[in-house]
Amino acid sequence: MPRPGRAALTRLSRHRLLGSPGAVAGLVWLAALVIASLTAPLWLPFKTEDQDFTAVLSGPTAAHWLGTDELGRDILSRIFAAAAGTLGTSMITVIVGVGLGTILAMLAAGAGERTETAISRVTEVMMSLPGTVIILAVIGAVGTNIPLVMAILGILMSAGIYRVILGQAKSLQSQLYVDAAKVDGLGPLGISVRHVLPGLANTVVVQAALIFAVGMLIQAGLAFIGFGPPIPQPSWGGMIQGASQHVYDAPWMMVPTGAVLALTVLSANAIGNALGKAPNAAAPHLPSAADRRQRAKAVAAIAAAARDAEETGDAGTDAGAKGTLSVRNLSVGVDNAGTGTGVQLVTGVSFDVEPGTVLGLVGESGCGKTMTALSLLGLLPSGVSATGGQILWNGRNLAATPDKDMQSVRGREIALISQEPMRALDPMFTVGYQLTATIRRLRGMGRSEARAEAHSLLEKVGIVDAGRILKTYPHQISGGMAQRVAVALALSGRPKLLVADEPTTALDVTVQAEILSLLRALVKDTGMSVVMVTHDLGVVADICDQVAVMYAGHVVENGRTAAILDNPRHPYTLALLAADPHANHADSMPERLATISGQVPQPKDWPAGCRFAARCQFAGSACLEPVPLLPSSAGDGLVRCVKADQLAIEGMDWLATDVPAGRLLPVSPVSSATPEPAPEQDSIVEKDLA
């Protein structure tokens, strides 16, 4: 996490504030209220105590815009006269509460576990107290000294604020730059003020706005039950209490004051909520009903496009052999309800998986491998959907299949294993429940039959004490064990195709090997096929028959595993191989491992030409044109590089890390300006390589 600069933070805050109409309205209302109440003596038509006996309990009139109370006092004047006091004393609660809460949180985060435990205990106790009753007892002791009472209310509320801020303060405290500052000899106070506090600023402001609102409500509530500022000073709560005496004869009276109070609270809340909105929360794995409708539209669009293609006769809907997965020209994009031109995350991906074979989808993270894999089950995250192409499976185009029809495919025909076995299992239910429920659903078995099947499945995936594991919760077993359970879960519907998303990445090396050999055995025994997503070429070499190397949302090279690993044609494949310690053959192991400088470009930054150009050691001006996927000179694969043949002839390798800086092409973000490599740089590349 980069250090949140103060300026960036203010920019962000401003952006979020002004982006929310509610917050803008709230700011305007609060500002107007403060100005109006501060200048009240200058413009108010009546003094707060002026009594107009000709208009007692009147509704709105020309003289009294908001009516009068039981003594004929002007309600408008009293509301604004009371505003400054209400807002000001609520600020006391904010300053004391948020101030104390923040200080406690920074103290707890900075001073070690003992202090944290102590402070947390005290705040827990504070939060479990009946605050209102205690505040009333305080009023008994100190009288209706509103500023003091509001300060004590702040102390009581600081506990909740501490709880909100603590986590963030702790994560800021554990940042690398904080360690660096410690090494530089900055004391704990200095660290808190210089490094932690700025990072907390937004949360603190959010809490301040919310506490301000609560403070106003409580203050008004106290005034309502008779503990407001001394009579005859007006207060909002006191005025509403006065109005409550006249519900029968003058119901209007409660409207203006209540509305002003509610609006003010609403304003503060709107500001707090706008600032506190998480910028981009993770997408739910089960989209909301509204998102599912959106998704259904996308699916219907693909189906319609496929029908049109069929009518015009140029459809390639040869259903393929049974059990073969054929992905044709698949694209996946972010939903964009309005314009229909959301960012594409995956474009033009095609591959085939024959029964009983394993296909590896390889590439760095952010290349669209996982999106491609999830689209096979129709399980793309909320807000993302397949936007075109075909996923042909047993005569059906899964890309154009509605979600409810996918239910008969998921688990029964195509199953999924995910990366983190611990998180893939439901922590709230036992392994046994999860397995038997799945088996009963997918195989239509009875309870005891399913139980026995669960037991034998666990044994099949190599779990010795299946009986015990069935009774455990996921947190009670190891990661390797959990992955075996996840495999068993995936097998429970006897699928023909297994989609495995980095199934070994989160595991220890020895466990990785076990899981891989388990998968290999399963492929052999059951004849199912596997789509294996991985960034690890060792895994590819170990288990895959075919490989598709993906970069920036499309396939850059594919073919048989042996061909790709021995004769890579695409520079990205070369680079991956050069950077992978396991994929290098022992005899040709280079002394230094290569790295690929830069990062996979963001989908919105993909250039029209070769998407790898910004990081490619061999990029030239020809690479600025769109590059097609063409038959490779090695084997029967395809490759997407204009220089593939040339590189093959010249036998060039991706060079190891400390390539002189000048040899590398500028890694400027591809989106900005033209990434036109200067000719002389191009020649430097050629020369160095020669």
């Binding site: 605050g131 009753v133 007892a137 509530g221 309502f224 409550s244 109070l261 609403l266 029964r412 439901d426």
Partner: protein, 313 residues
């Protein structure tokens, strides 16, 4: 688990004790000696001093507190300075009123809040935004103001419910329910809004968990993913939120009791504070704390029981 329960019990006891000390000190900081309060204006200084001596007001604070604690442990919270009635007996009469009010409001808030929050999270889109706006409005409305509006609508305009007063359950269960209706609804408006927010956030968080994808990948029906698995996962923070809300609603009953003229604990706090009735204030603060702490303890244990990680250990 047993150790956990013991620890929590100990902490609850400590909390009550701390509040007892706090209340004792606050009461001693009240203006006017108990003698003066009890005898009222116009009493001679001699008589006041005499009564203060009798009440032990001049003893060292520690021994006064020890005496109070000893009596309180036996269920004797002293007598009111104003009318000499037993505070224990008085509070025992009032507790059921506030308890029905707070429990009713908590249950109603929980039911409405969870329903609204789950609907918002599950349906999404326009409905989510509409519920969000509605809930935001409810949070901002002062309970006492809402109460007056309810009185106006349901008691003044159409006399569906009695406007004020409380009928004990023993007298007439039906009238008891009717007399509670308006105050409970009044309190539940804000409570439901808070719980709705908590529920929505917790449900969304649950739906972001990776195991939801596993469930979908094994063709689990949507209703089961939502209402068995996600709701189960979200239940921990939701119950914690409800526990917190109970404390707020218990405090809010002070206002509801004032507005609807209900003879509960809140009213007792309010009158005893206004009349400087020291032992009554002290008693009611301690009793309120005991109730809140006890309910919290139960709900907290419930939360822990819902969490397999803690249950197993």
């Amino acid at each position: 688990m047993a150790l956990f329960v013991a620890k929590r019990l100990l902490m609850a006891l400590a909390t009550v004790l701390v509040v007892a000390v706090l209340a004792f000190l606050l009461v001693h900081a009240m203006p006017g000696s108990p003698g003066a309060v009890s005898l009222g204006a116009g009493a001679s200084q001699d008589a006041i001093d005499q009564l203060n001596r009798q009440l032990g007001w001049n003893d060292p604070l520690v021994s006064q507190f020890a005496r109070w604690l000893g009596d309180a442990a036996q269920g004797n919270l002293g007598v009111s300075l104003i009318d000499g009635r037993s505070i224990t007996a008085d509070l025992a009469n009032r507790l059921p009123v506030t308890a029905s009010l707070a429990a009713g409001a908590t249950i109603l808030s929980a039911v409405l809040g969870v329903a609204l929050g789950v609907t918002a999270a599950v349906r999404g889109g326009l409905l989510d935004r509409a519920i969000g706006g509605f809930v935001g409005l409810l949070v901002a409305l002062p309970a006492f103001w809402v109460g007056i509006i309810f009185v106006y609508l349901f008691a003044v305009q159409s006399s569906v419910f009695p406007a004020t007063g409380y009928v004990p359950f023993e007298v007439s269960p039906q009238d008891w329910a009717l007399s509670l209706a308006l105050p409970v609804i009044t309190l539940a408006v804000g409570g439901a809004a808070f719980i709705a927010r908590q529920t929505r956030a917790s449900m969304l968080e649950a739906l972001q968990q990776e195991h939801i994808r596993t469930l979908r990948a094994t063709a689990t029906p949507t209703w089961k993913i939502l209402y068995v698995h996600a709701l189960r996962y979200a239940s921990l923070p939701i119950v914690a939120g409800i526990a917190l809300q109970f404390i707020g609603l218990f405090g809010g009953s002070v206002i509801a009791e004032q507005l609807f003229a209900m003879p509960g604990l809140g009213q007792a706090v309010q009158t005893s504070v206004s009349t400087h009735d020291a032992p009554a204030v002290q008693g009611v603060v301690v009793i309120a704390t005991v109730v809140v702490v006890a309910v919290n303890l139960v709900l907290e244990l419930a939360t822990k029981f819902l969490d397999p990680k803690l249950r197993a250990s």
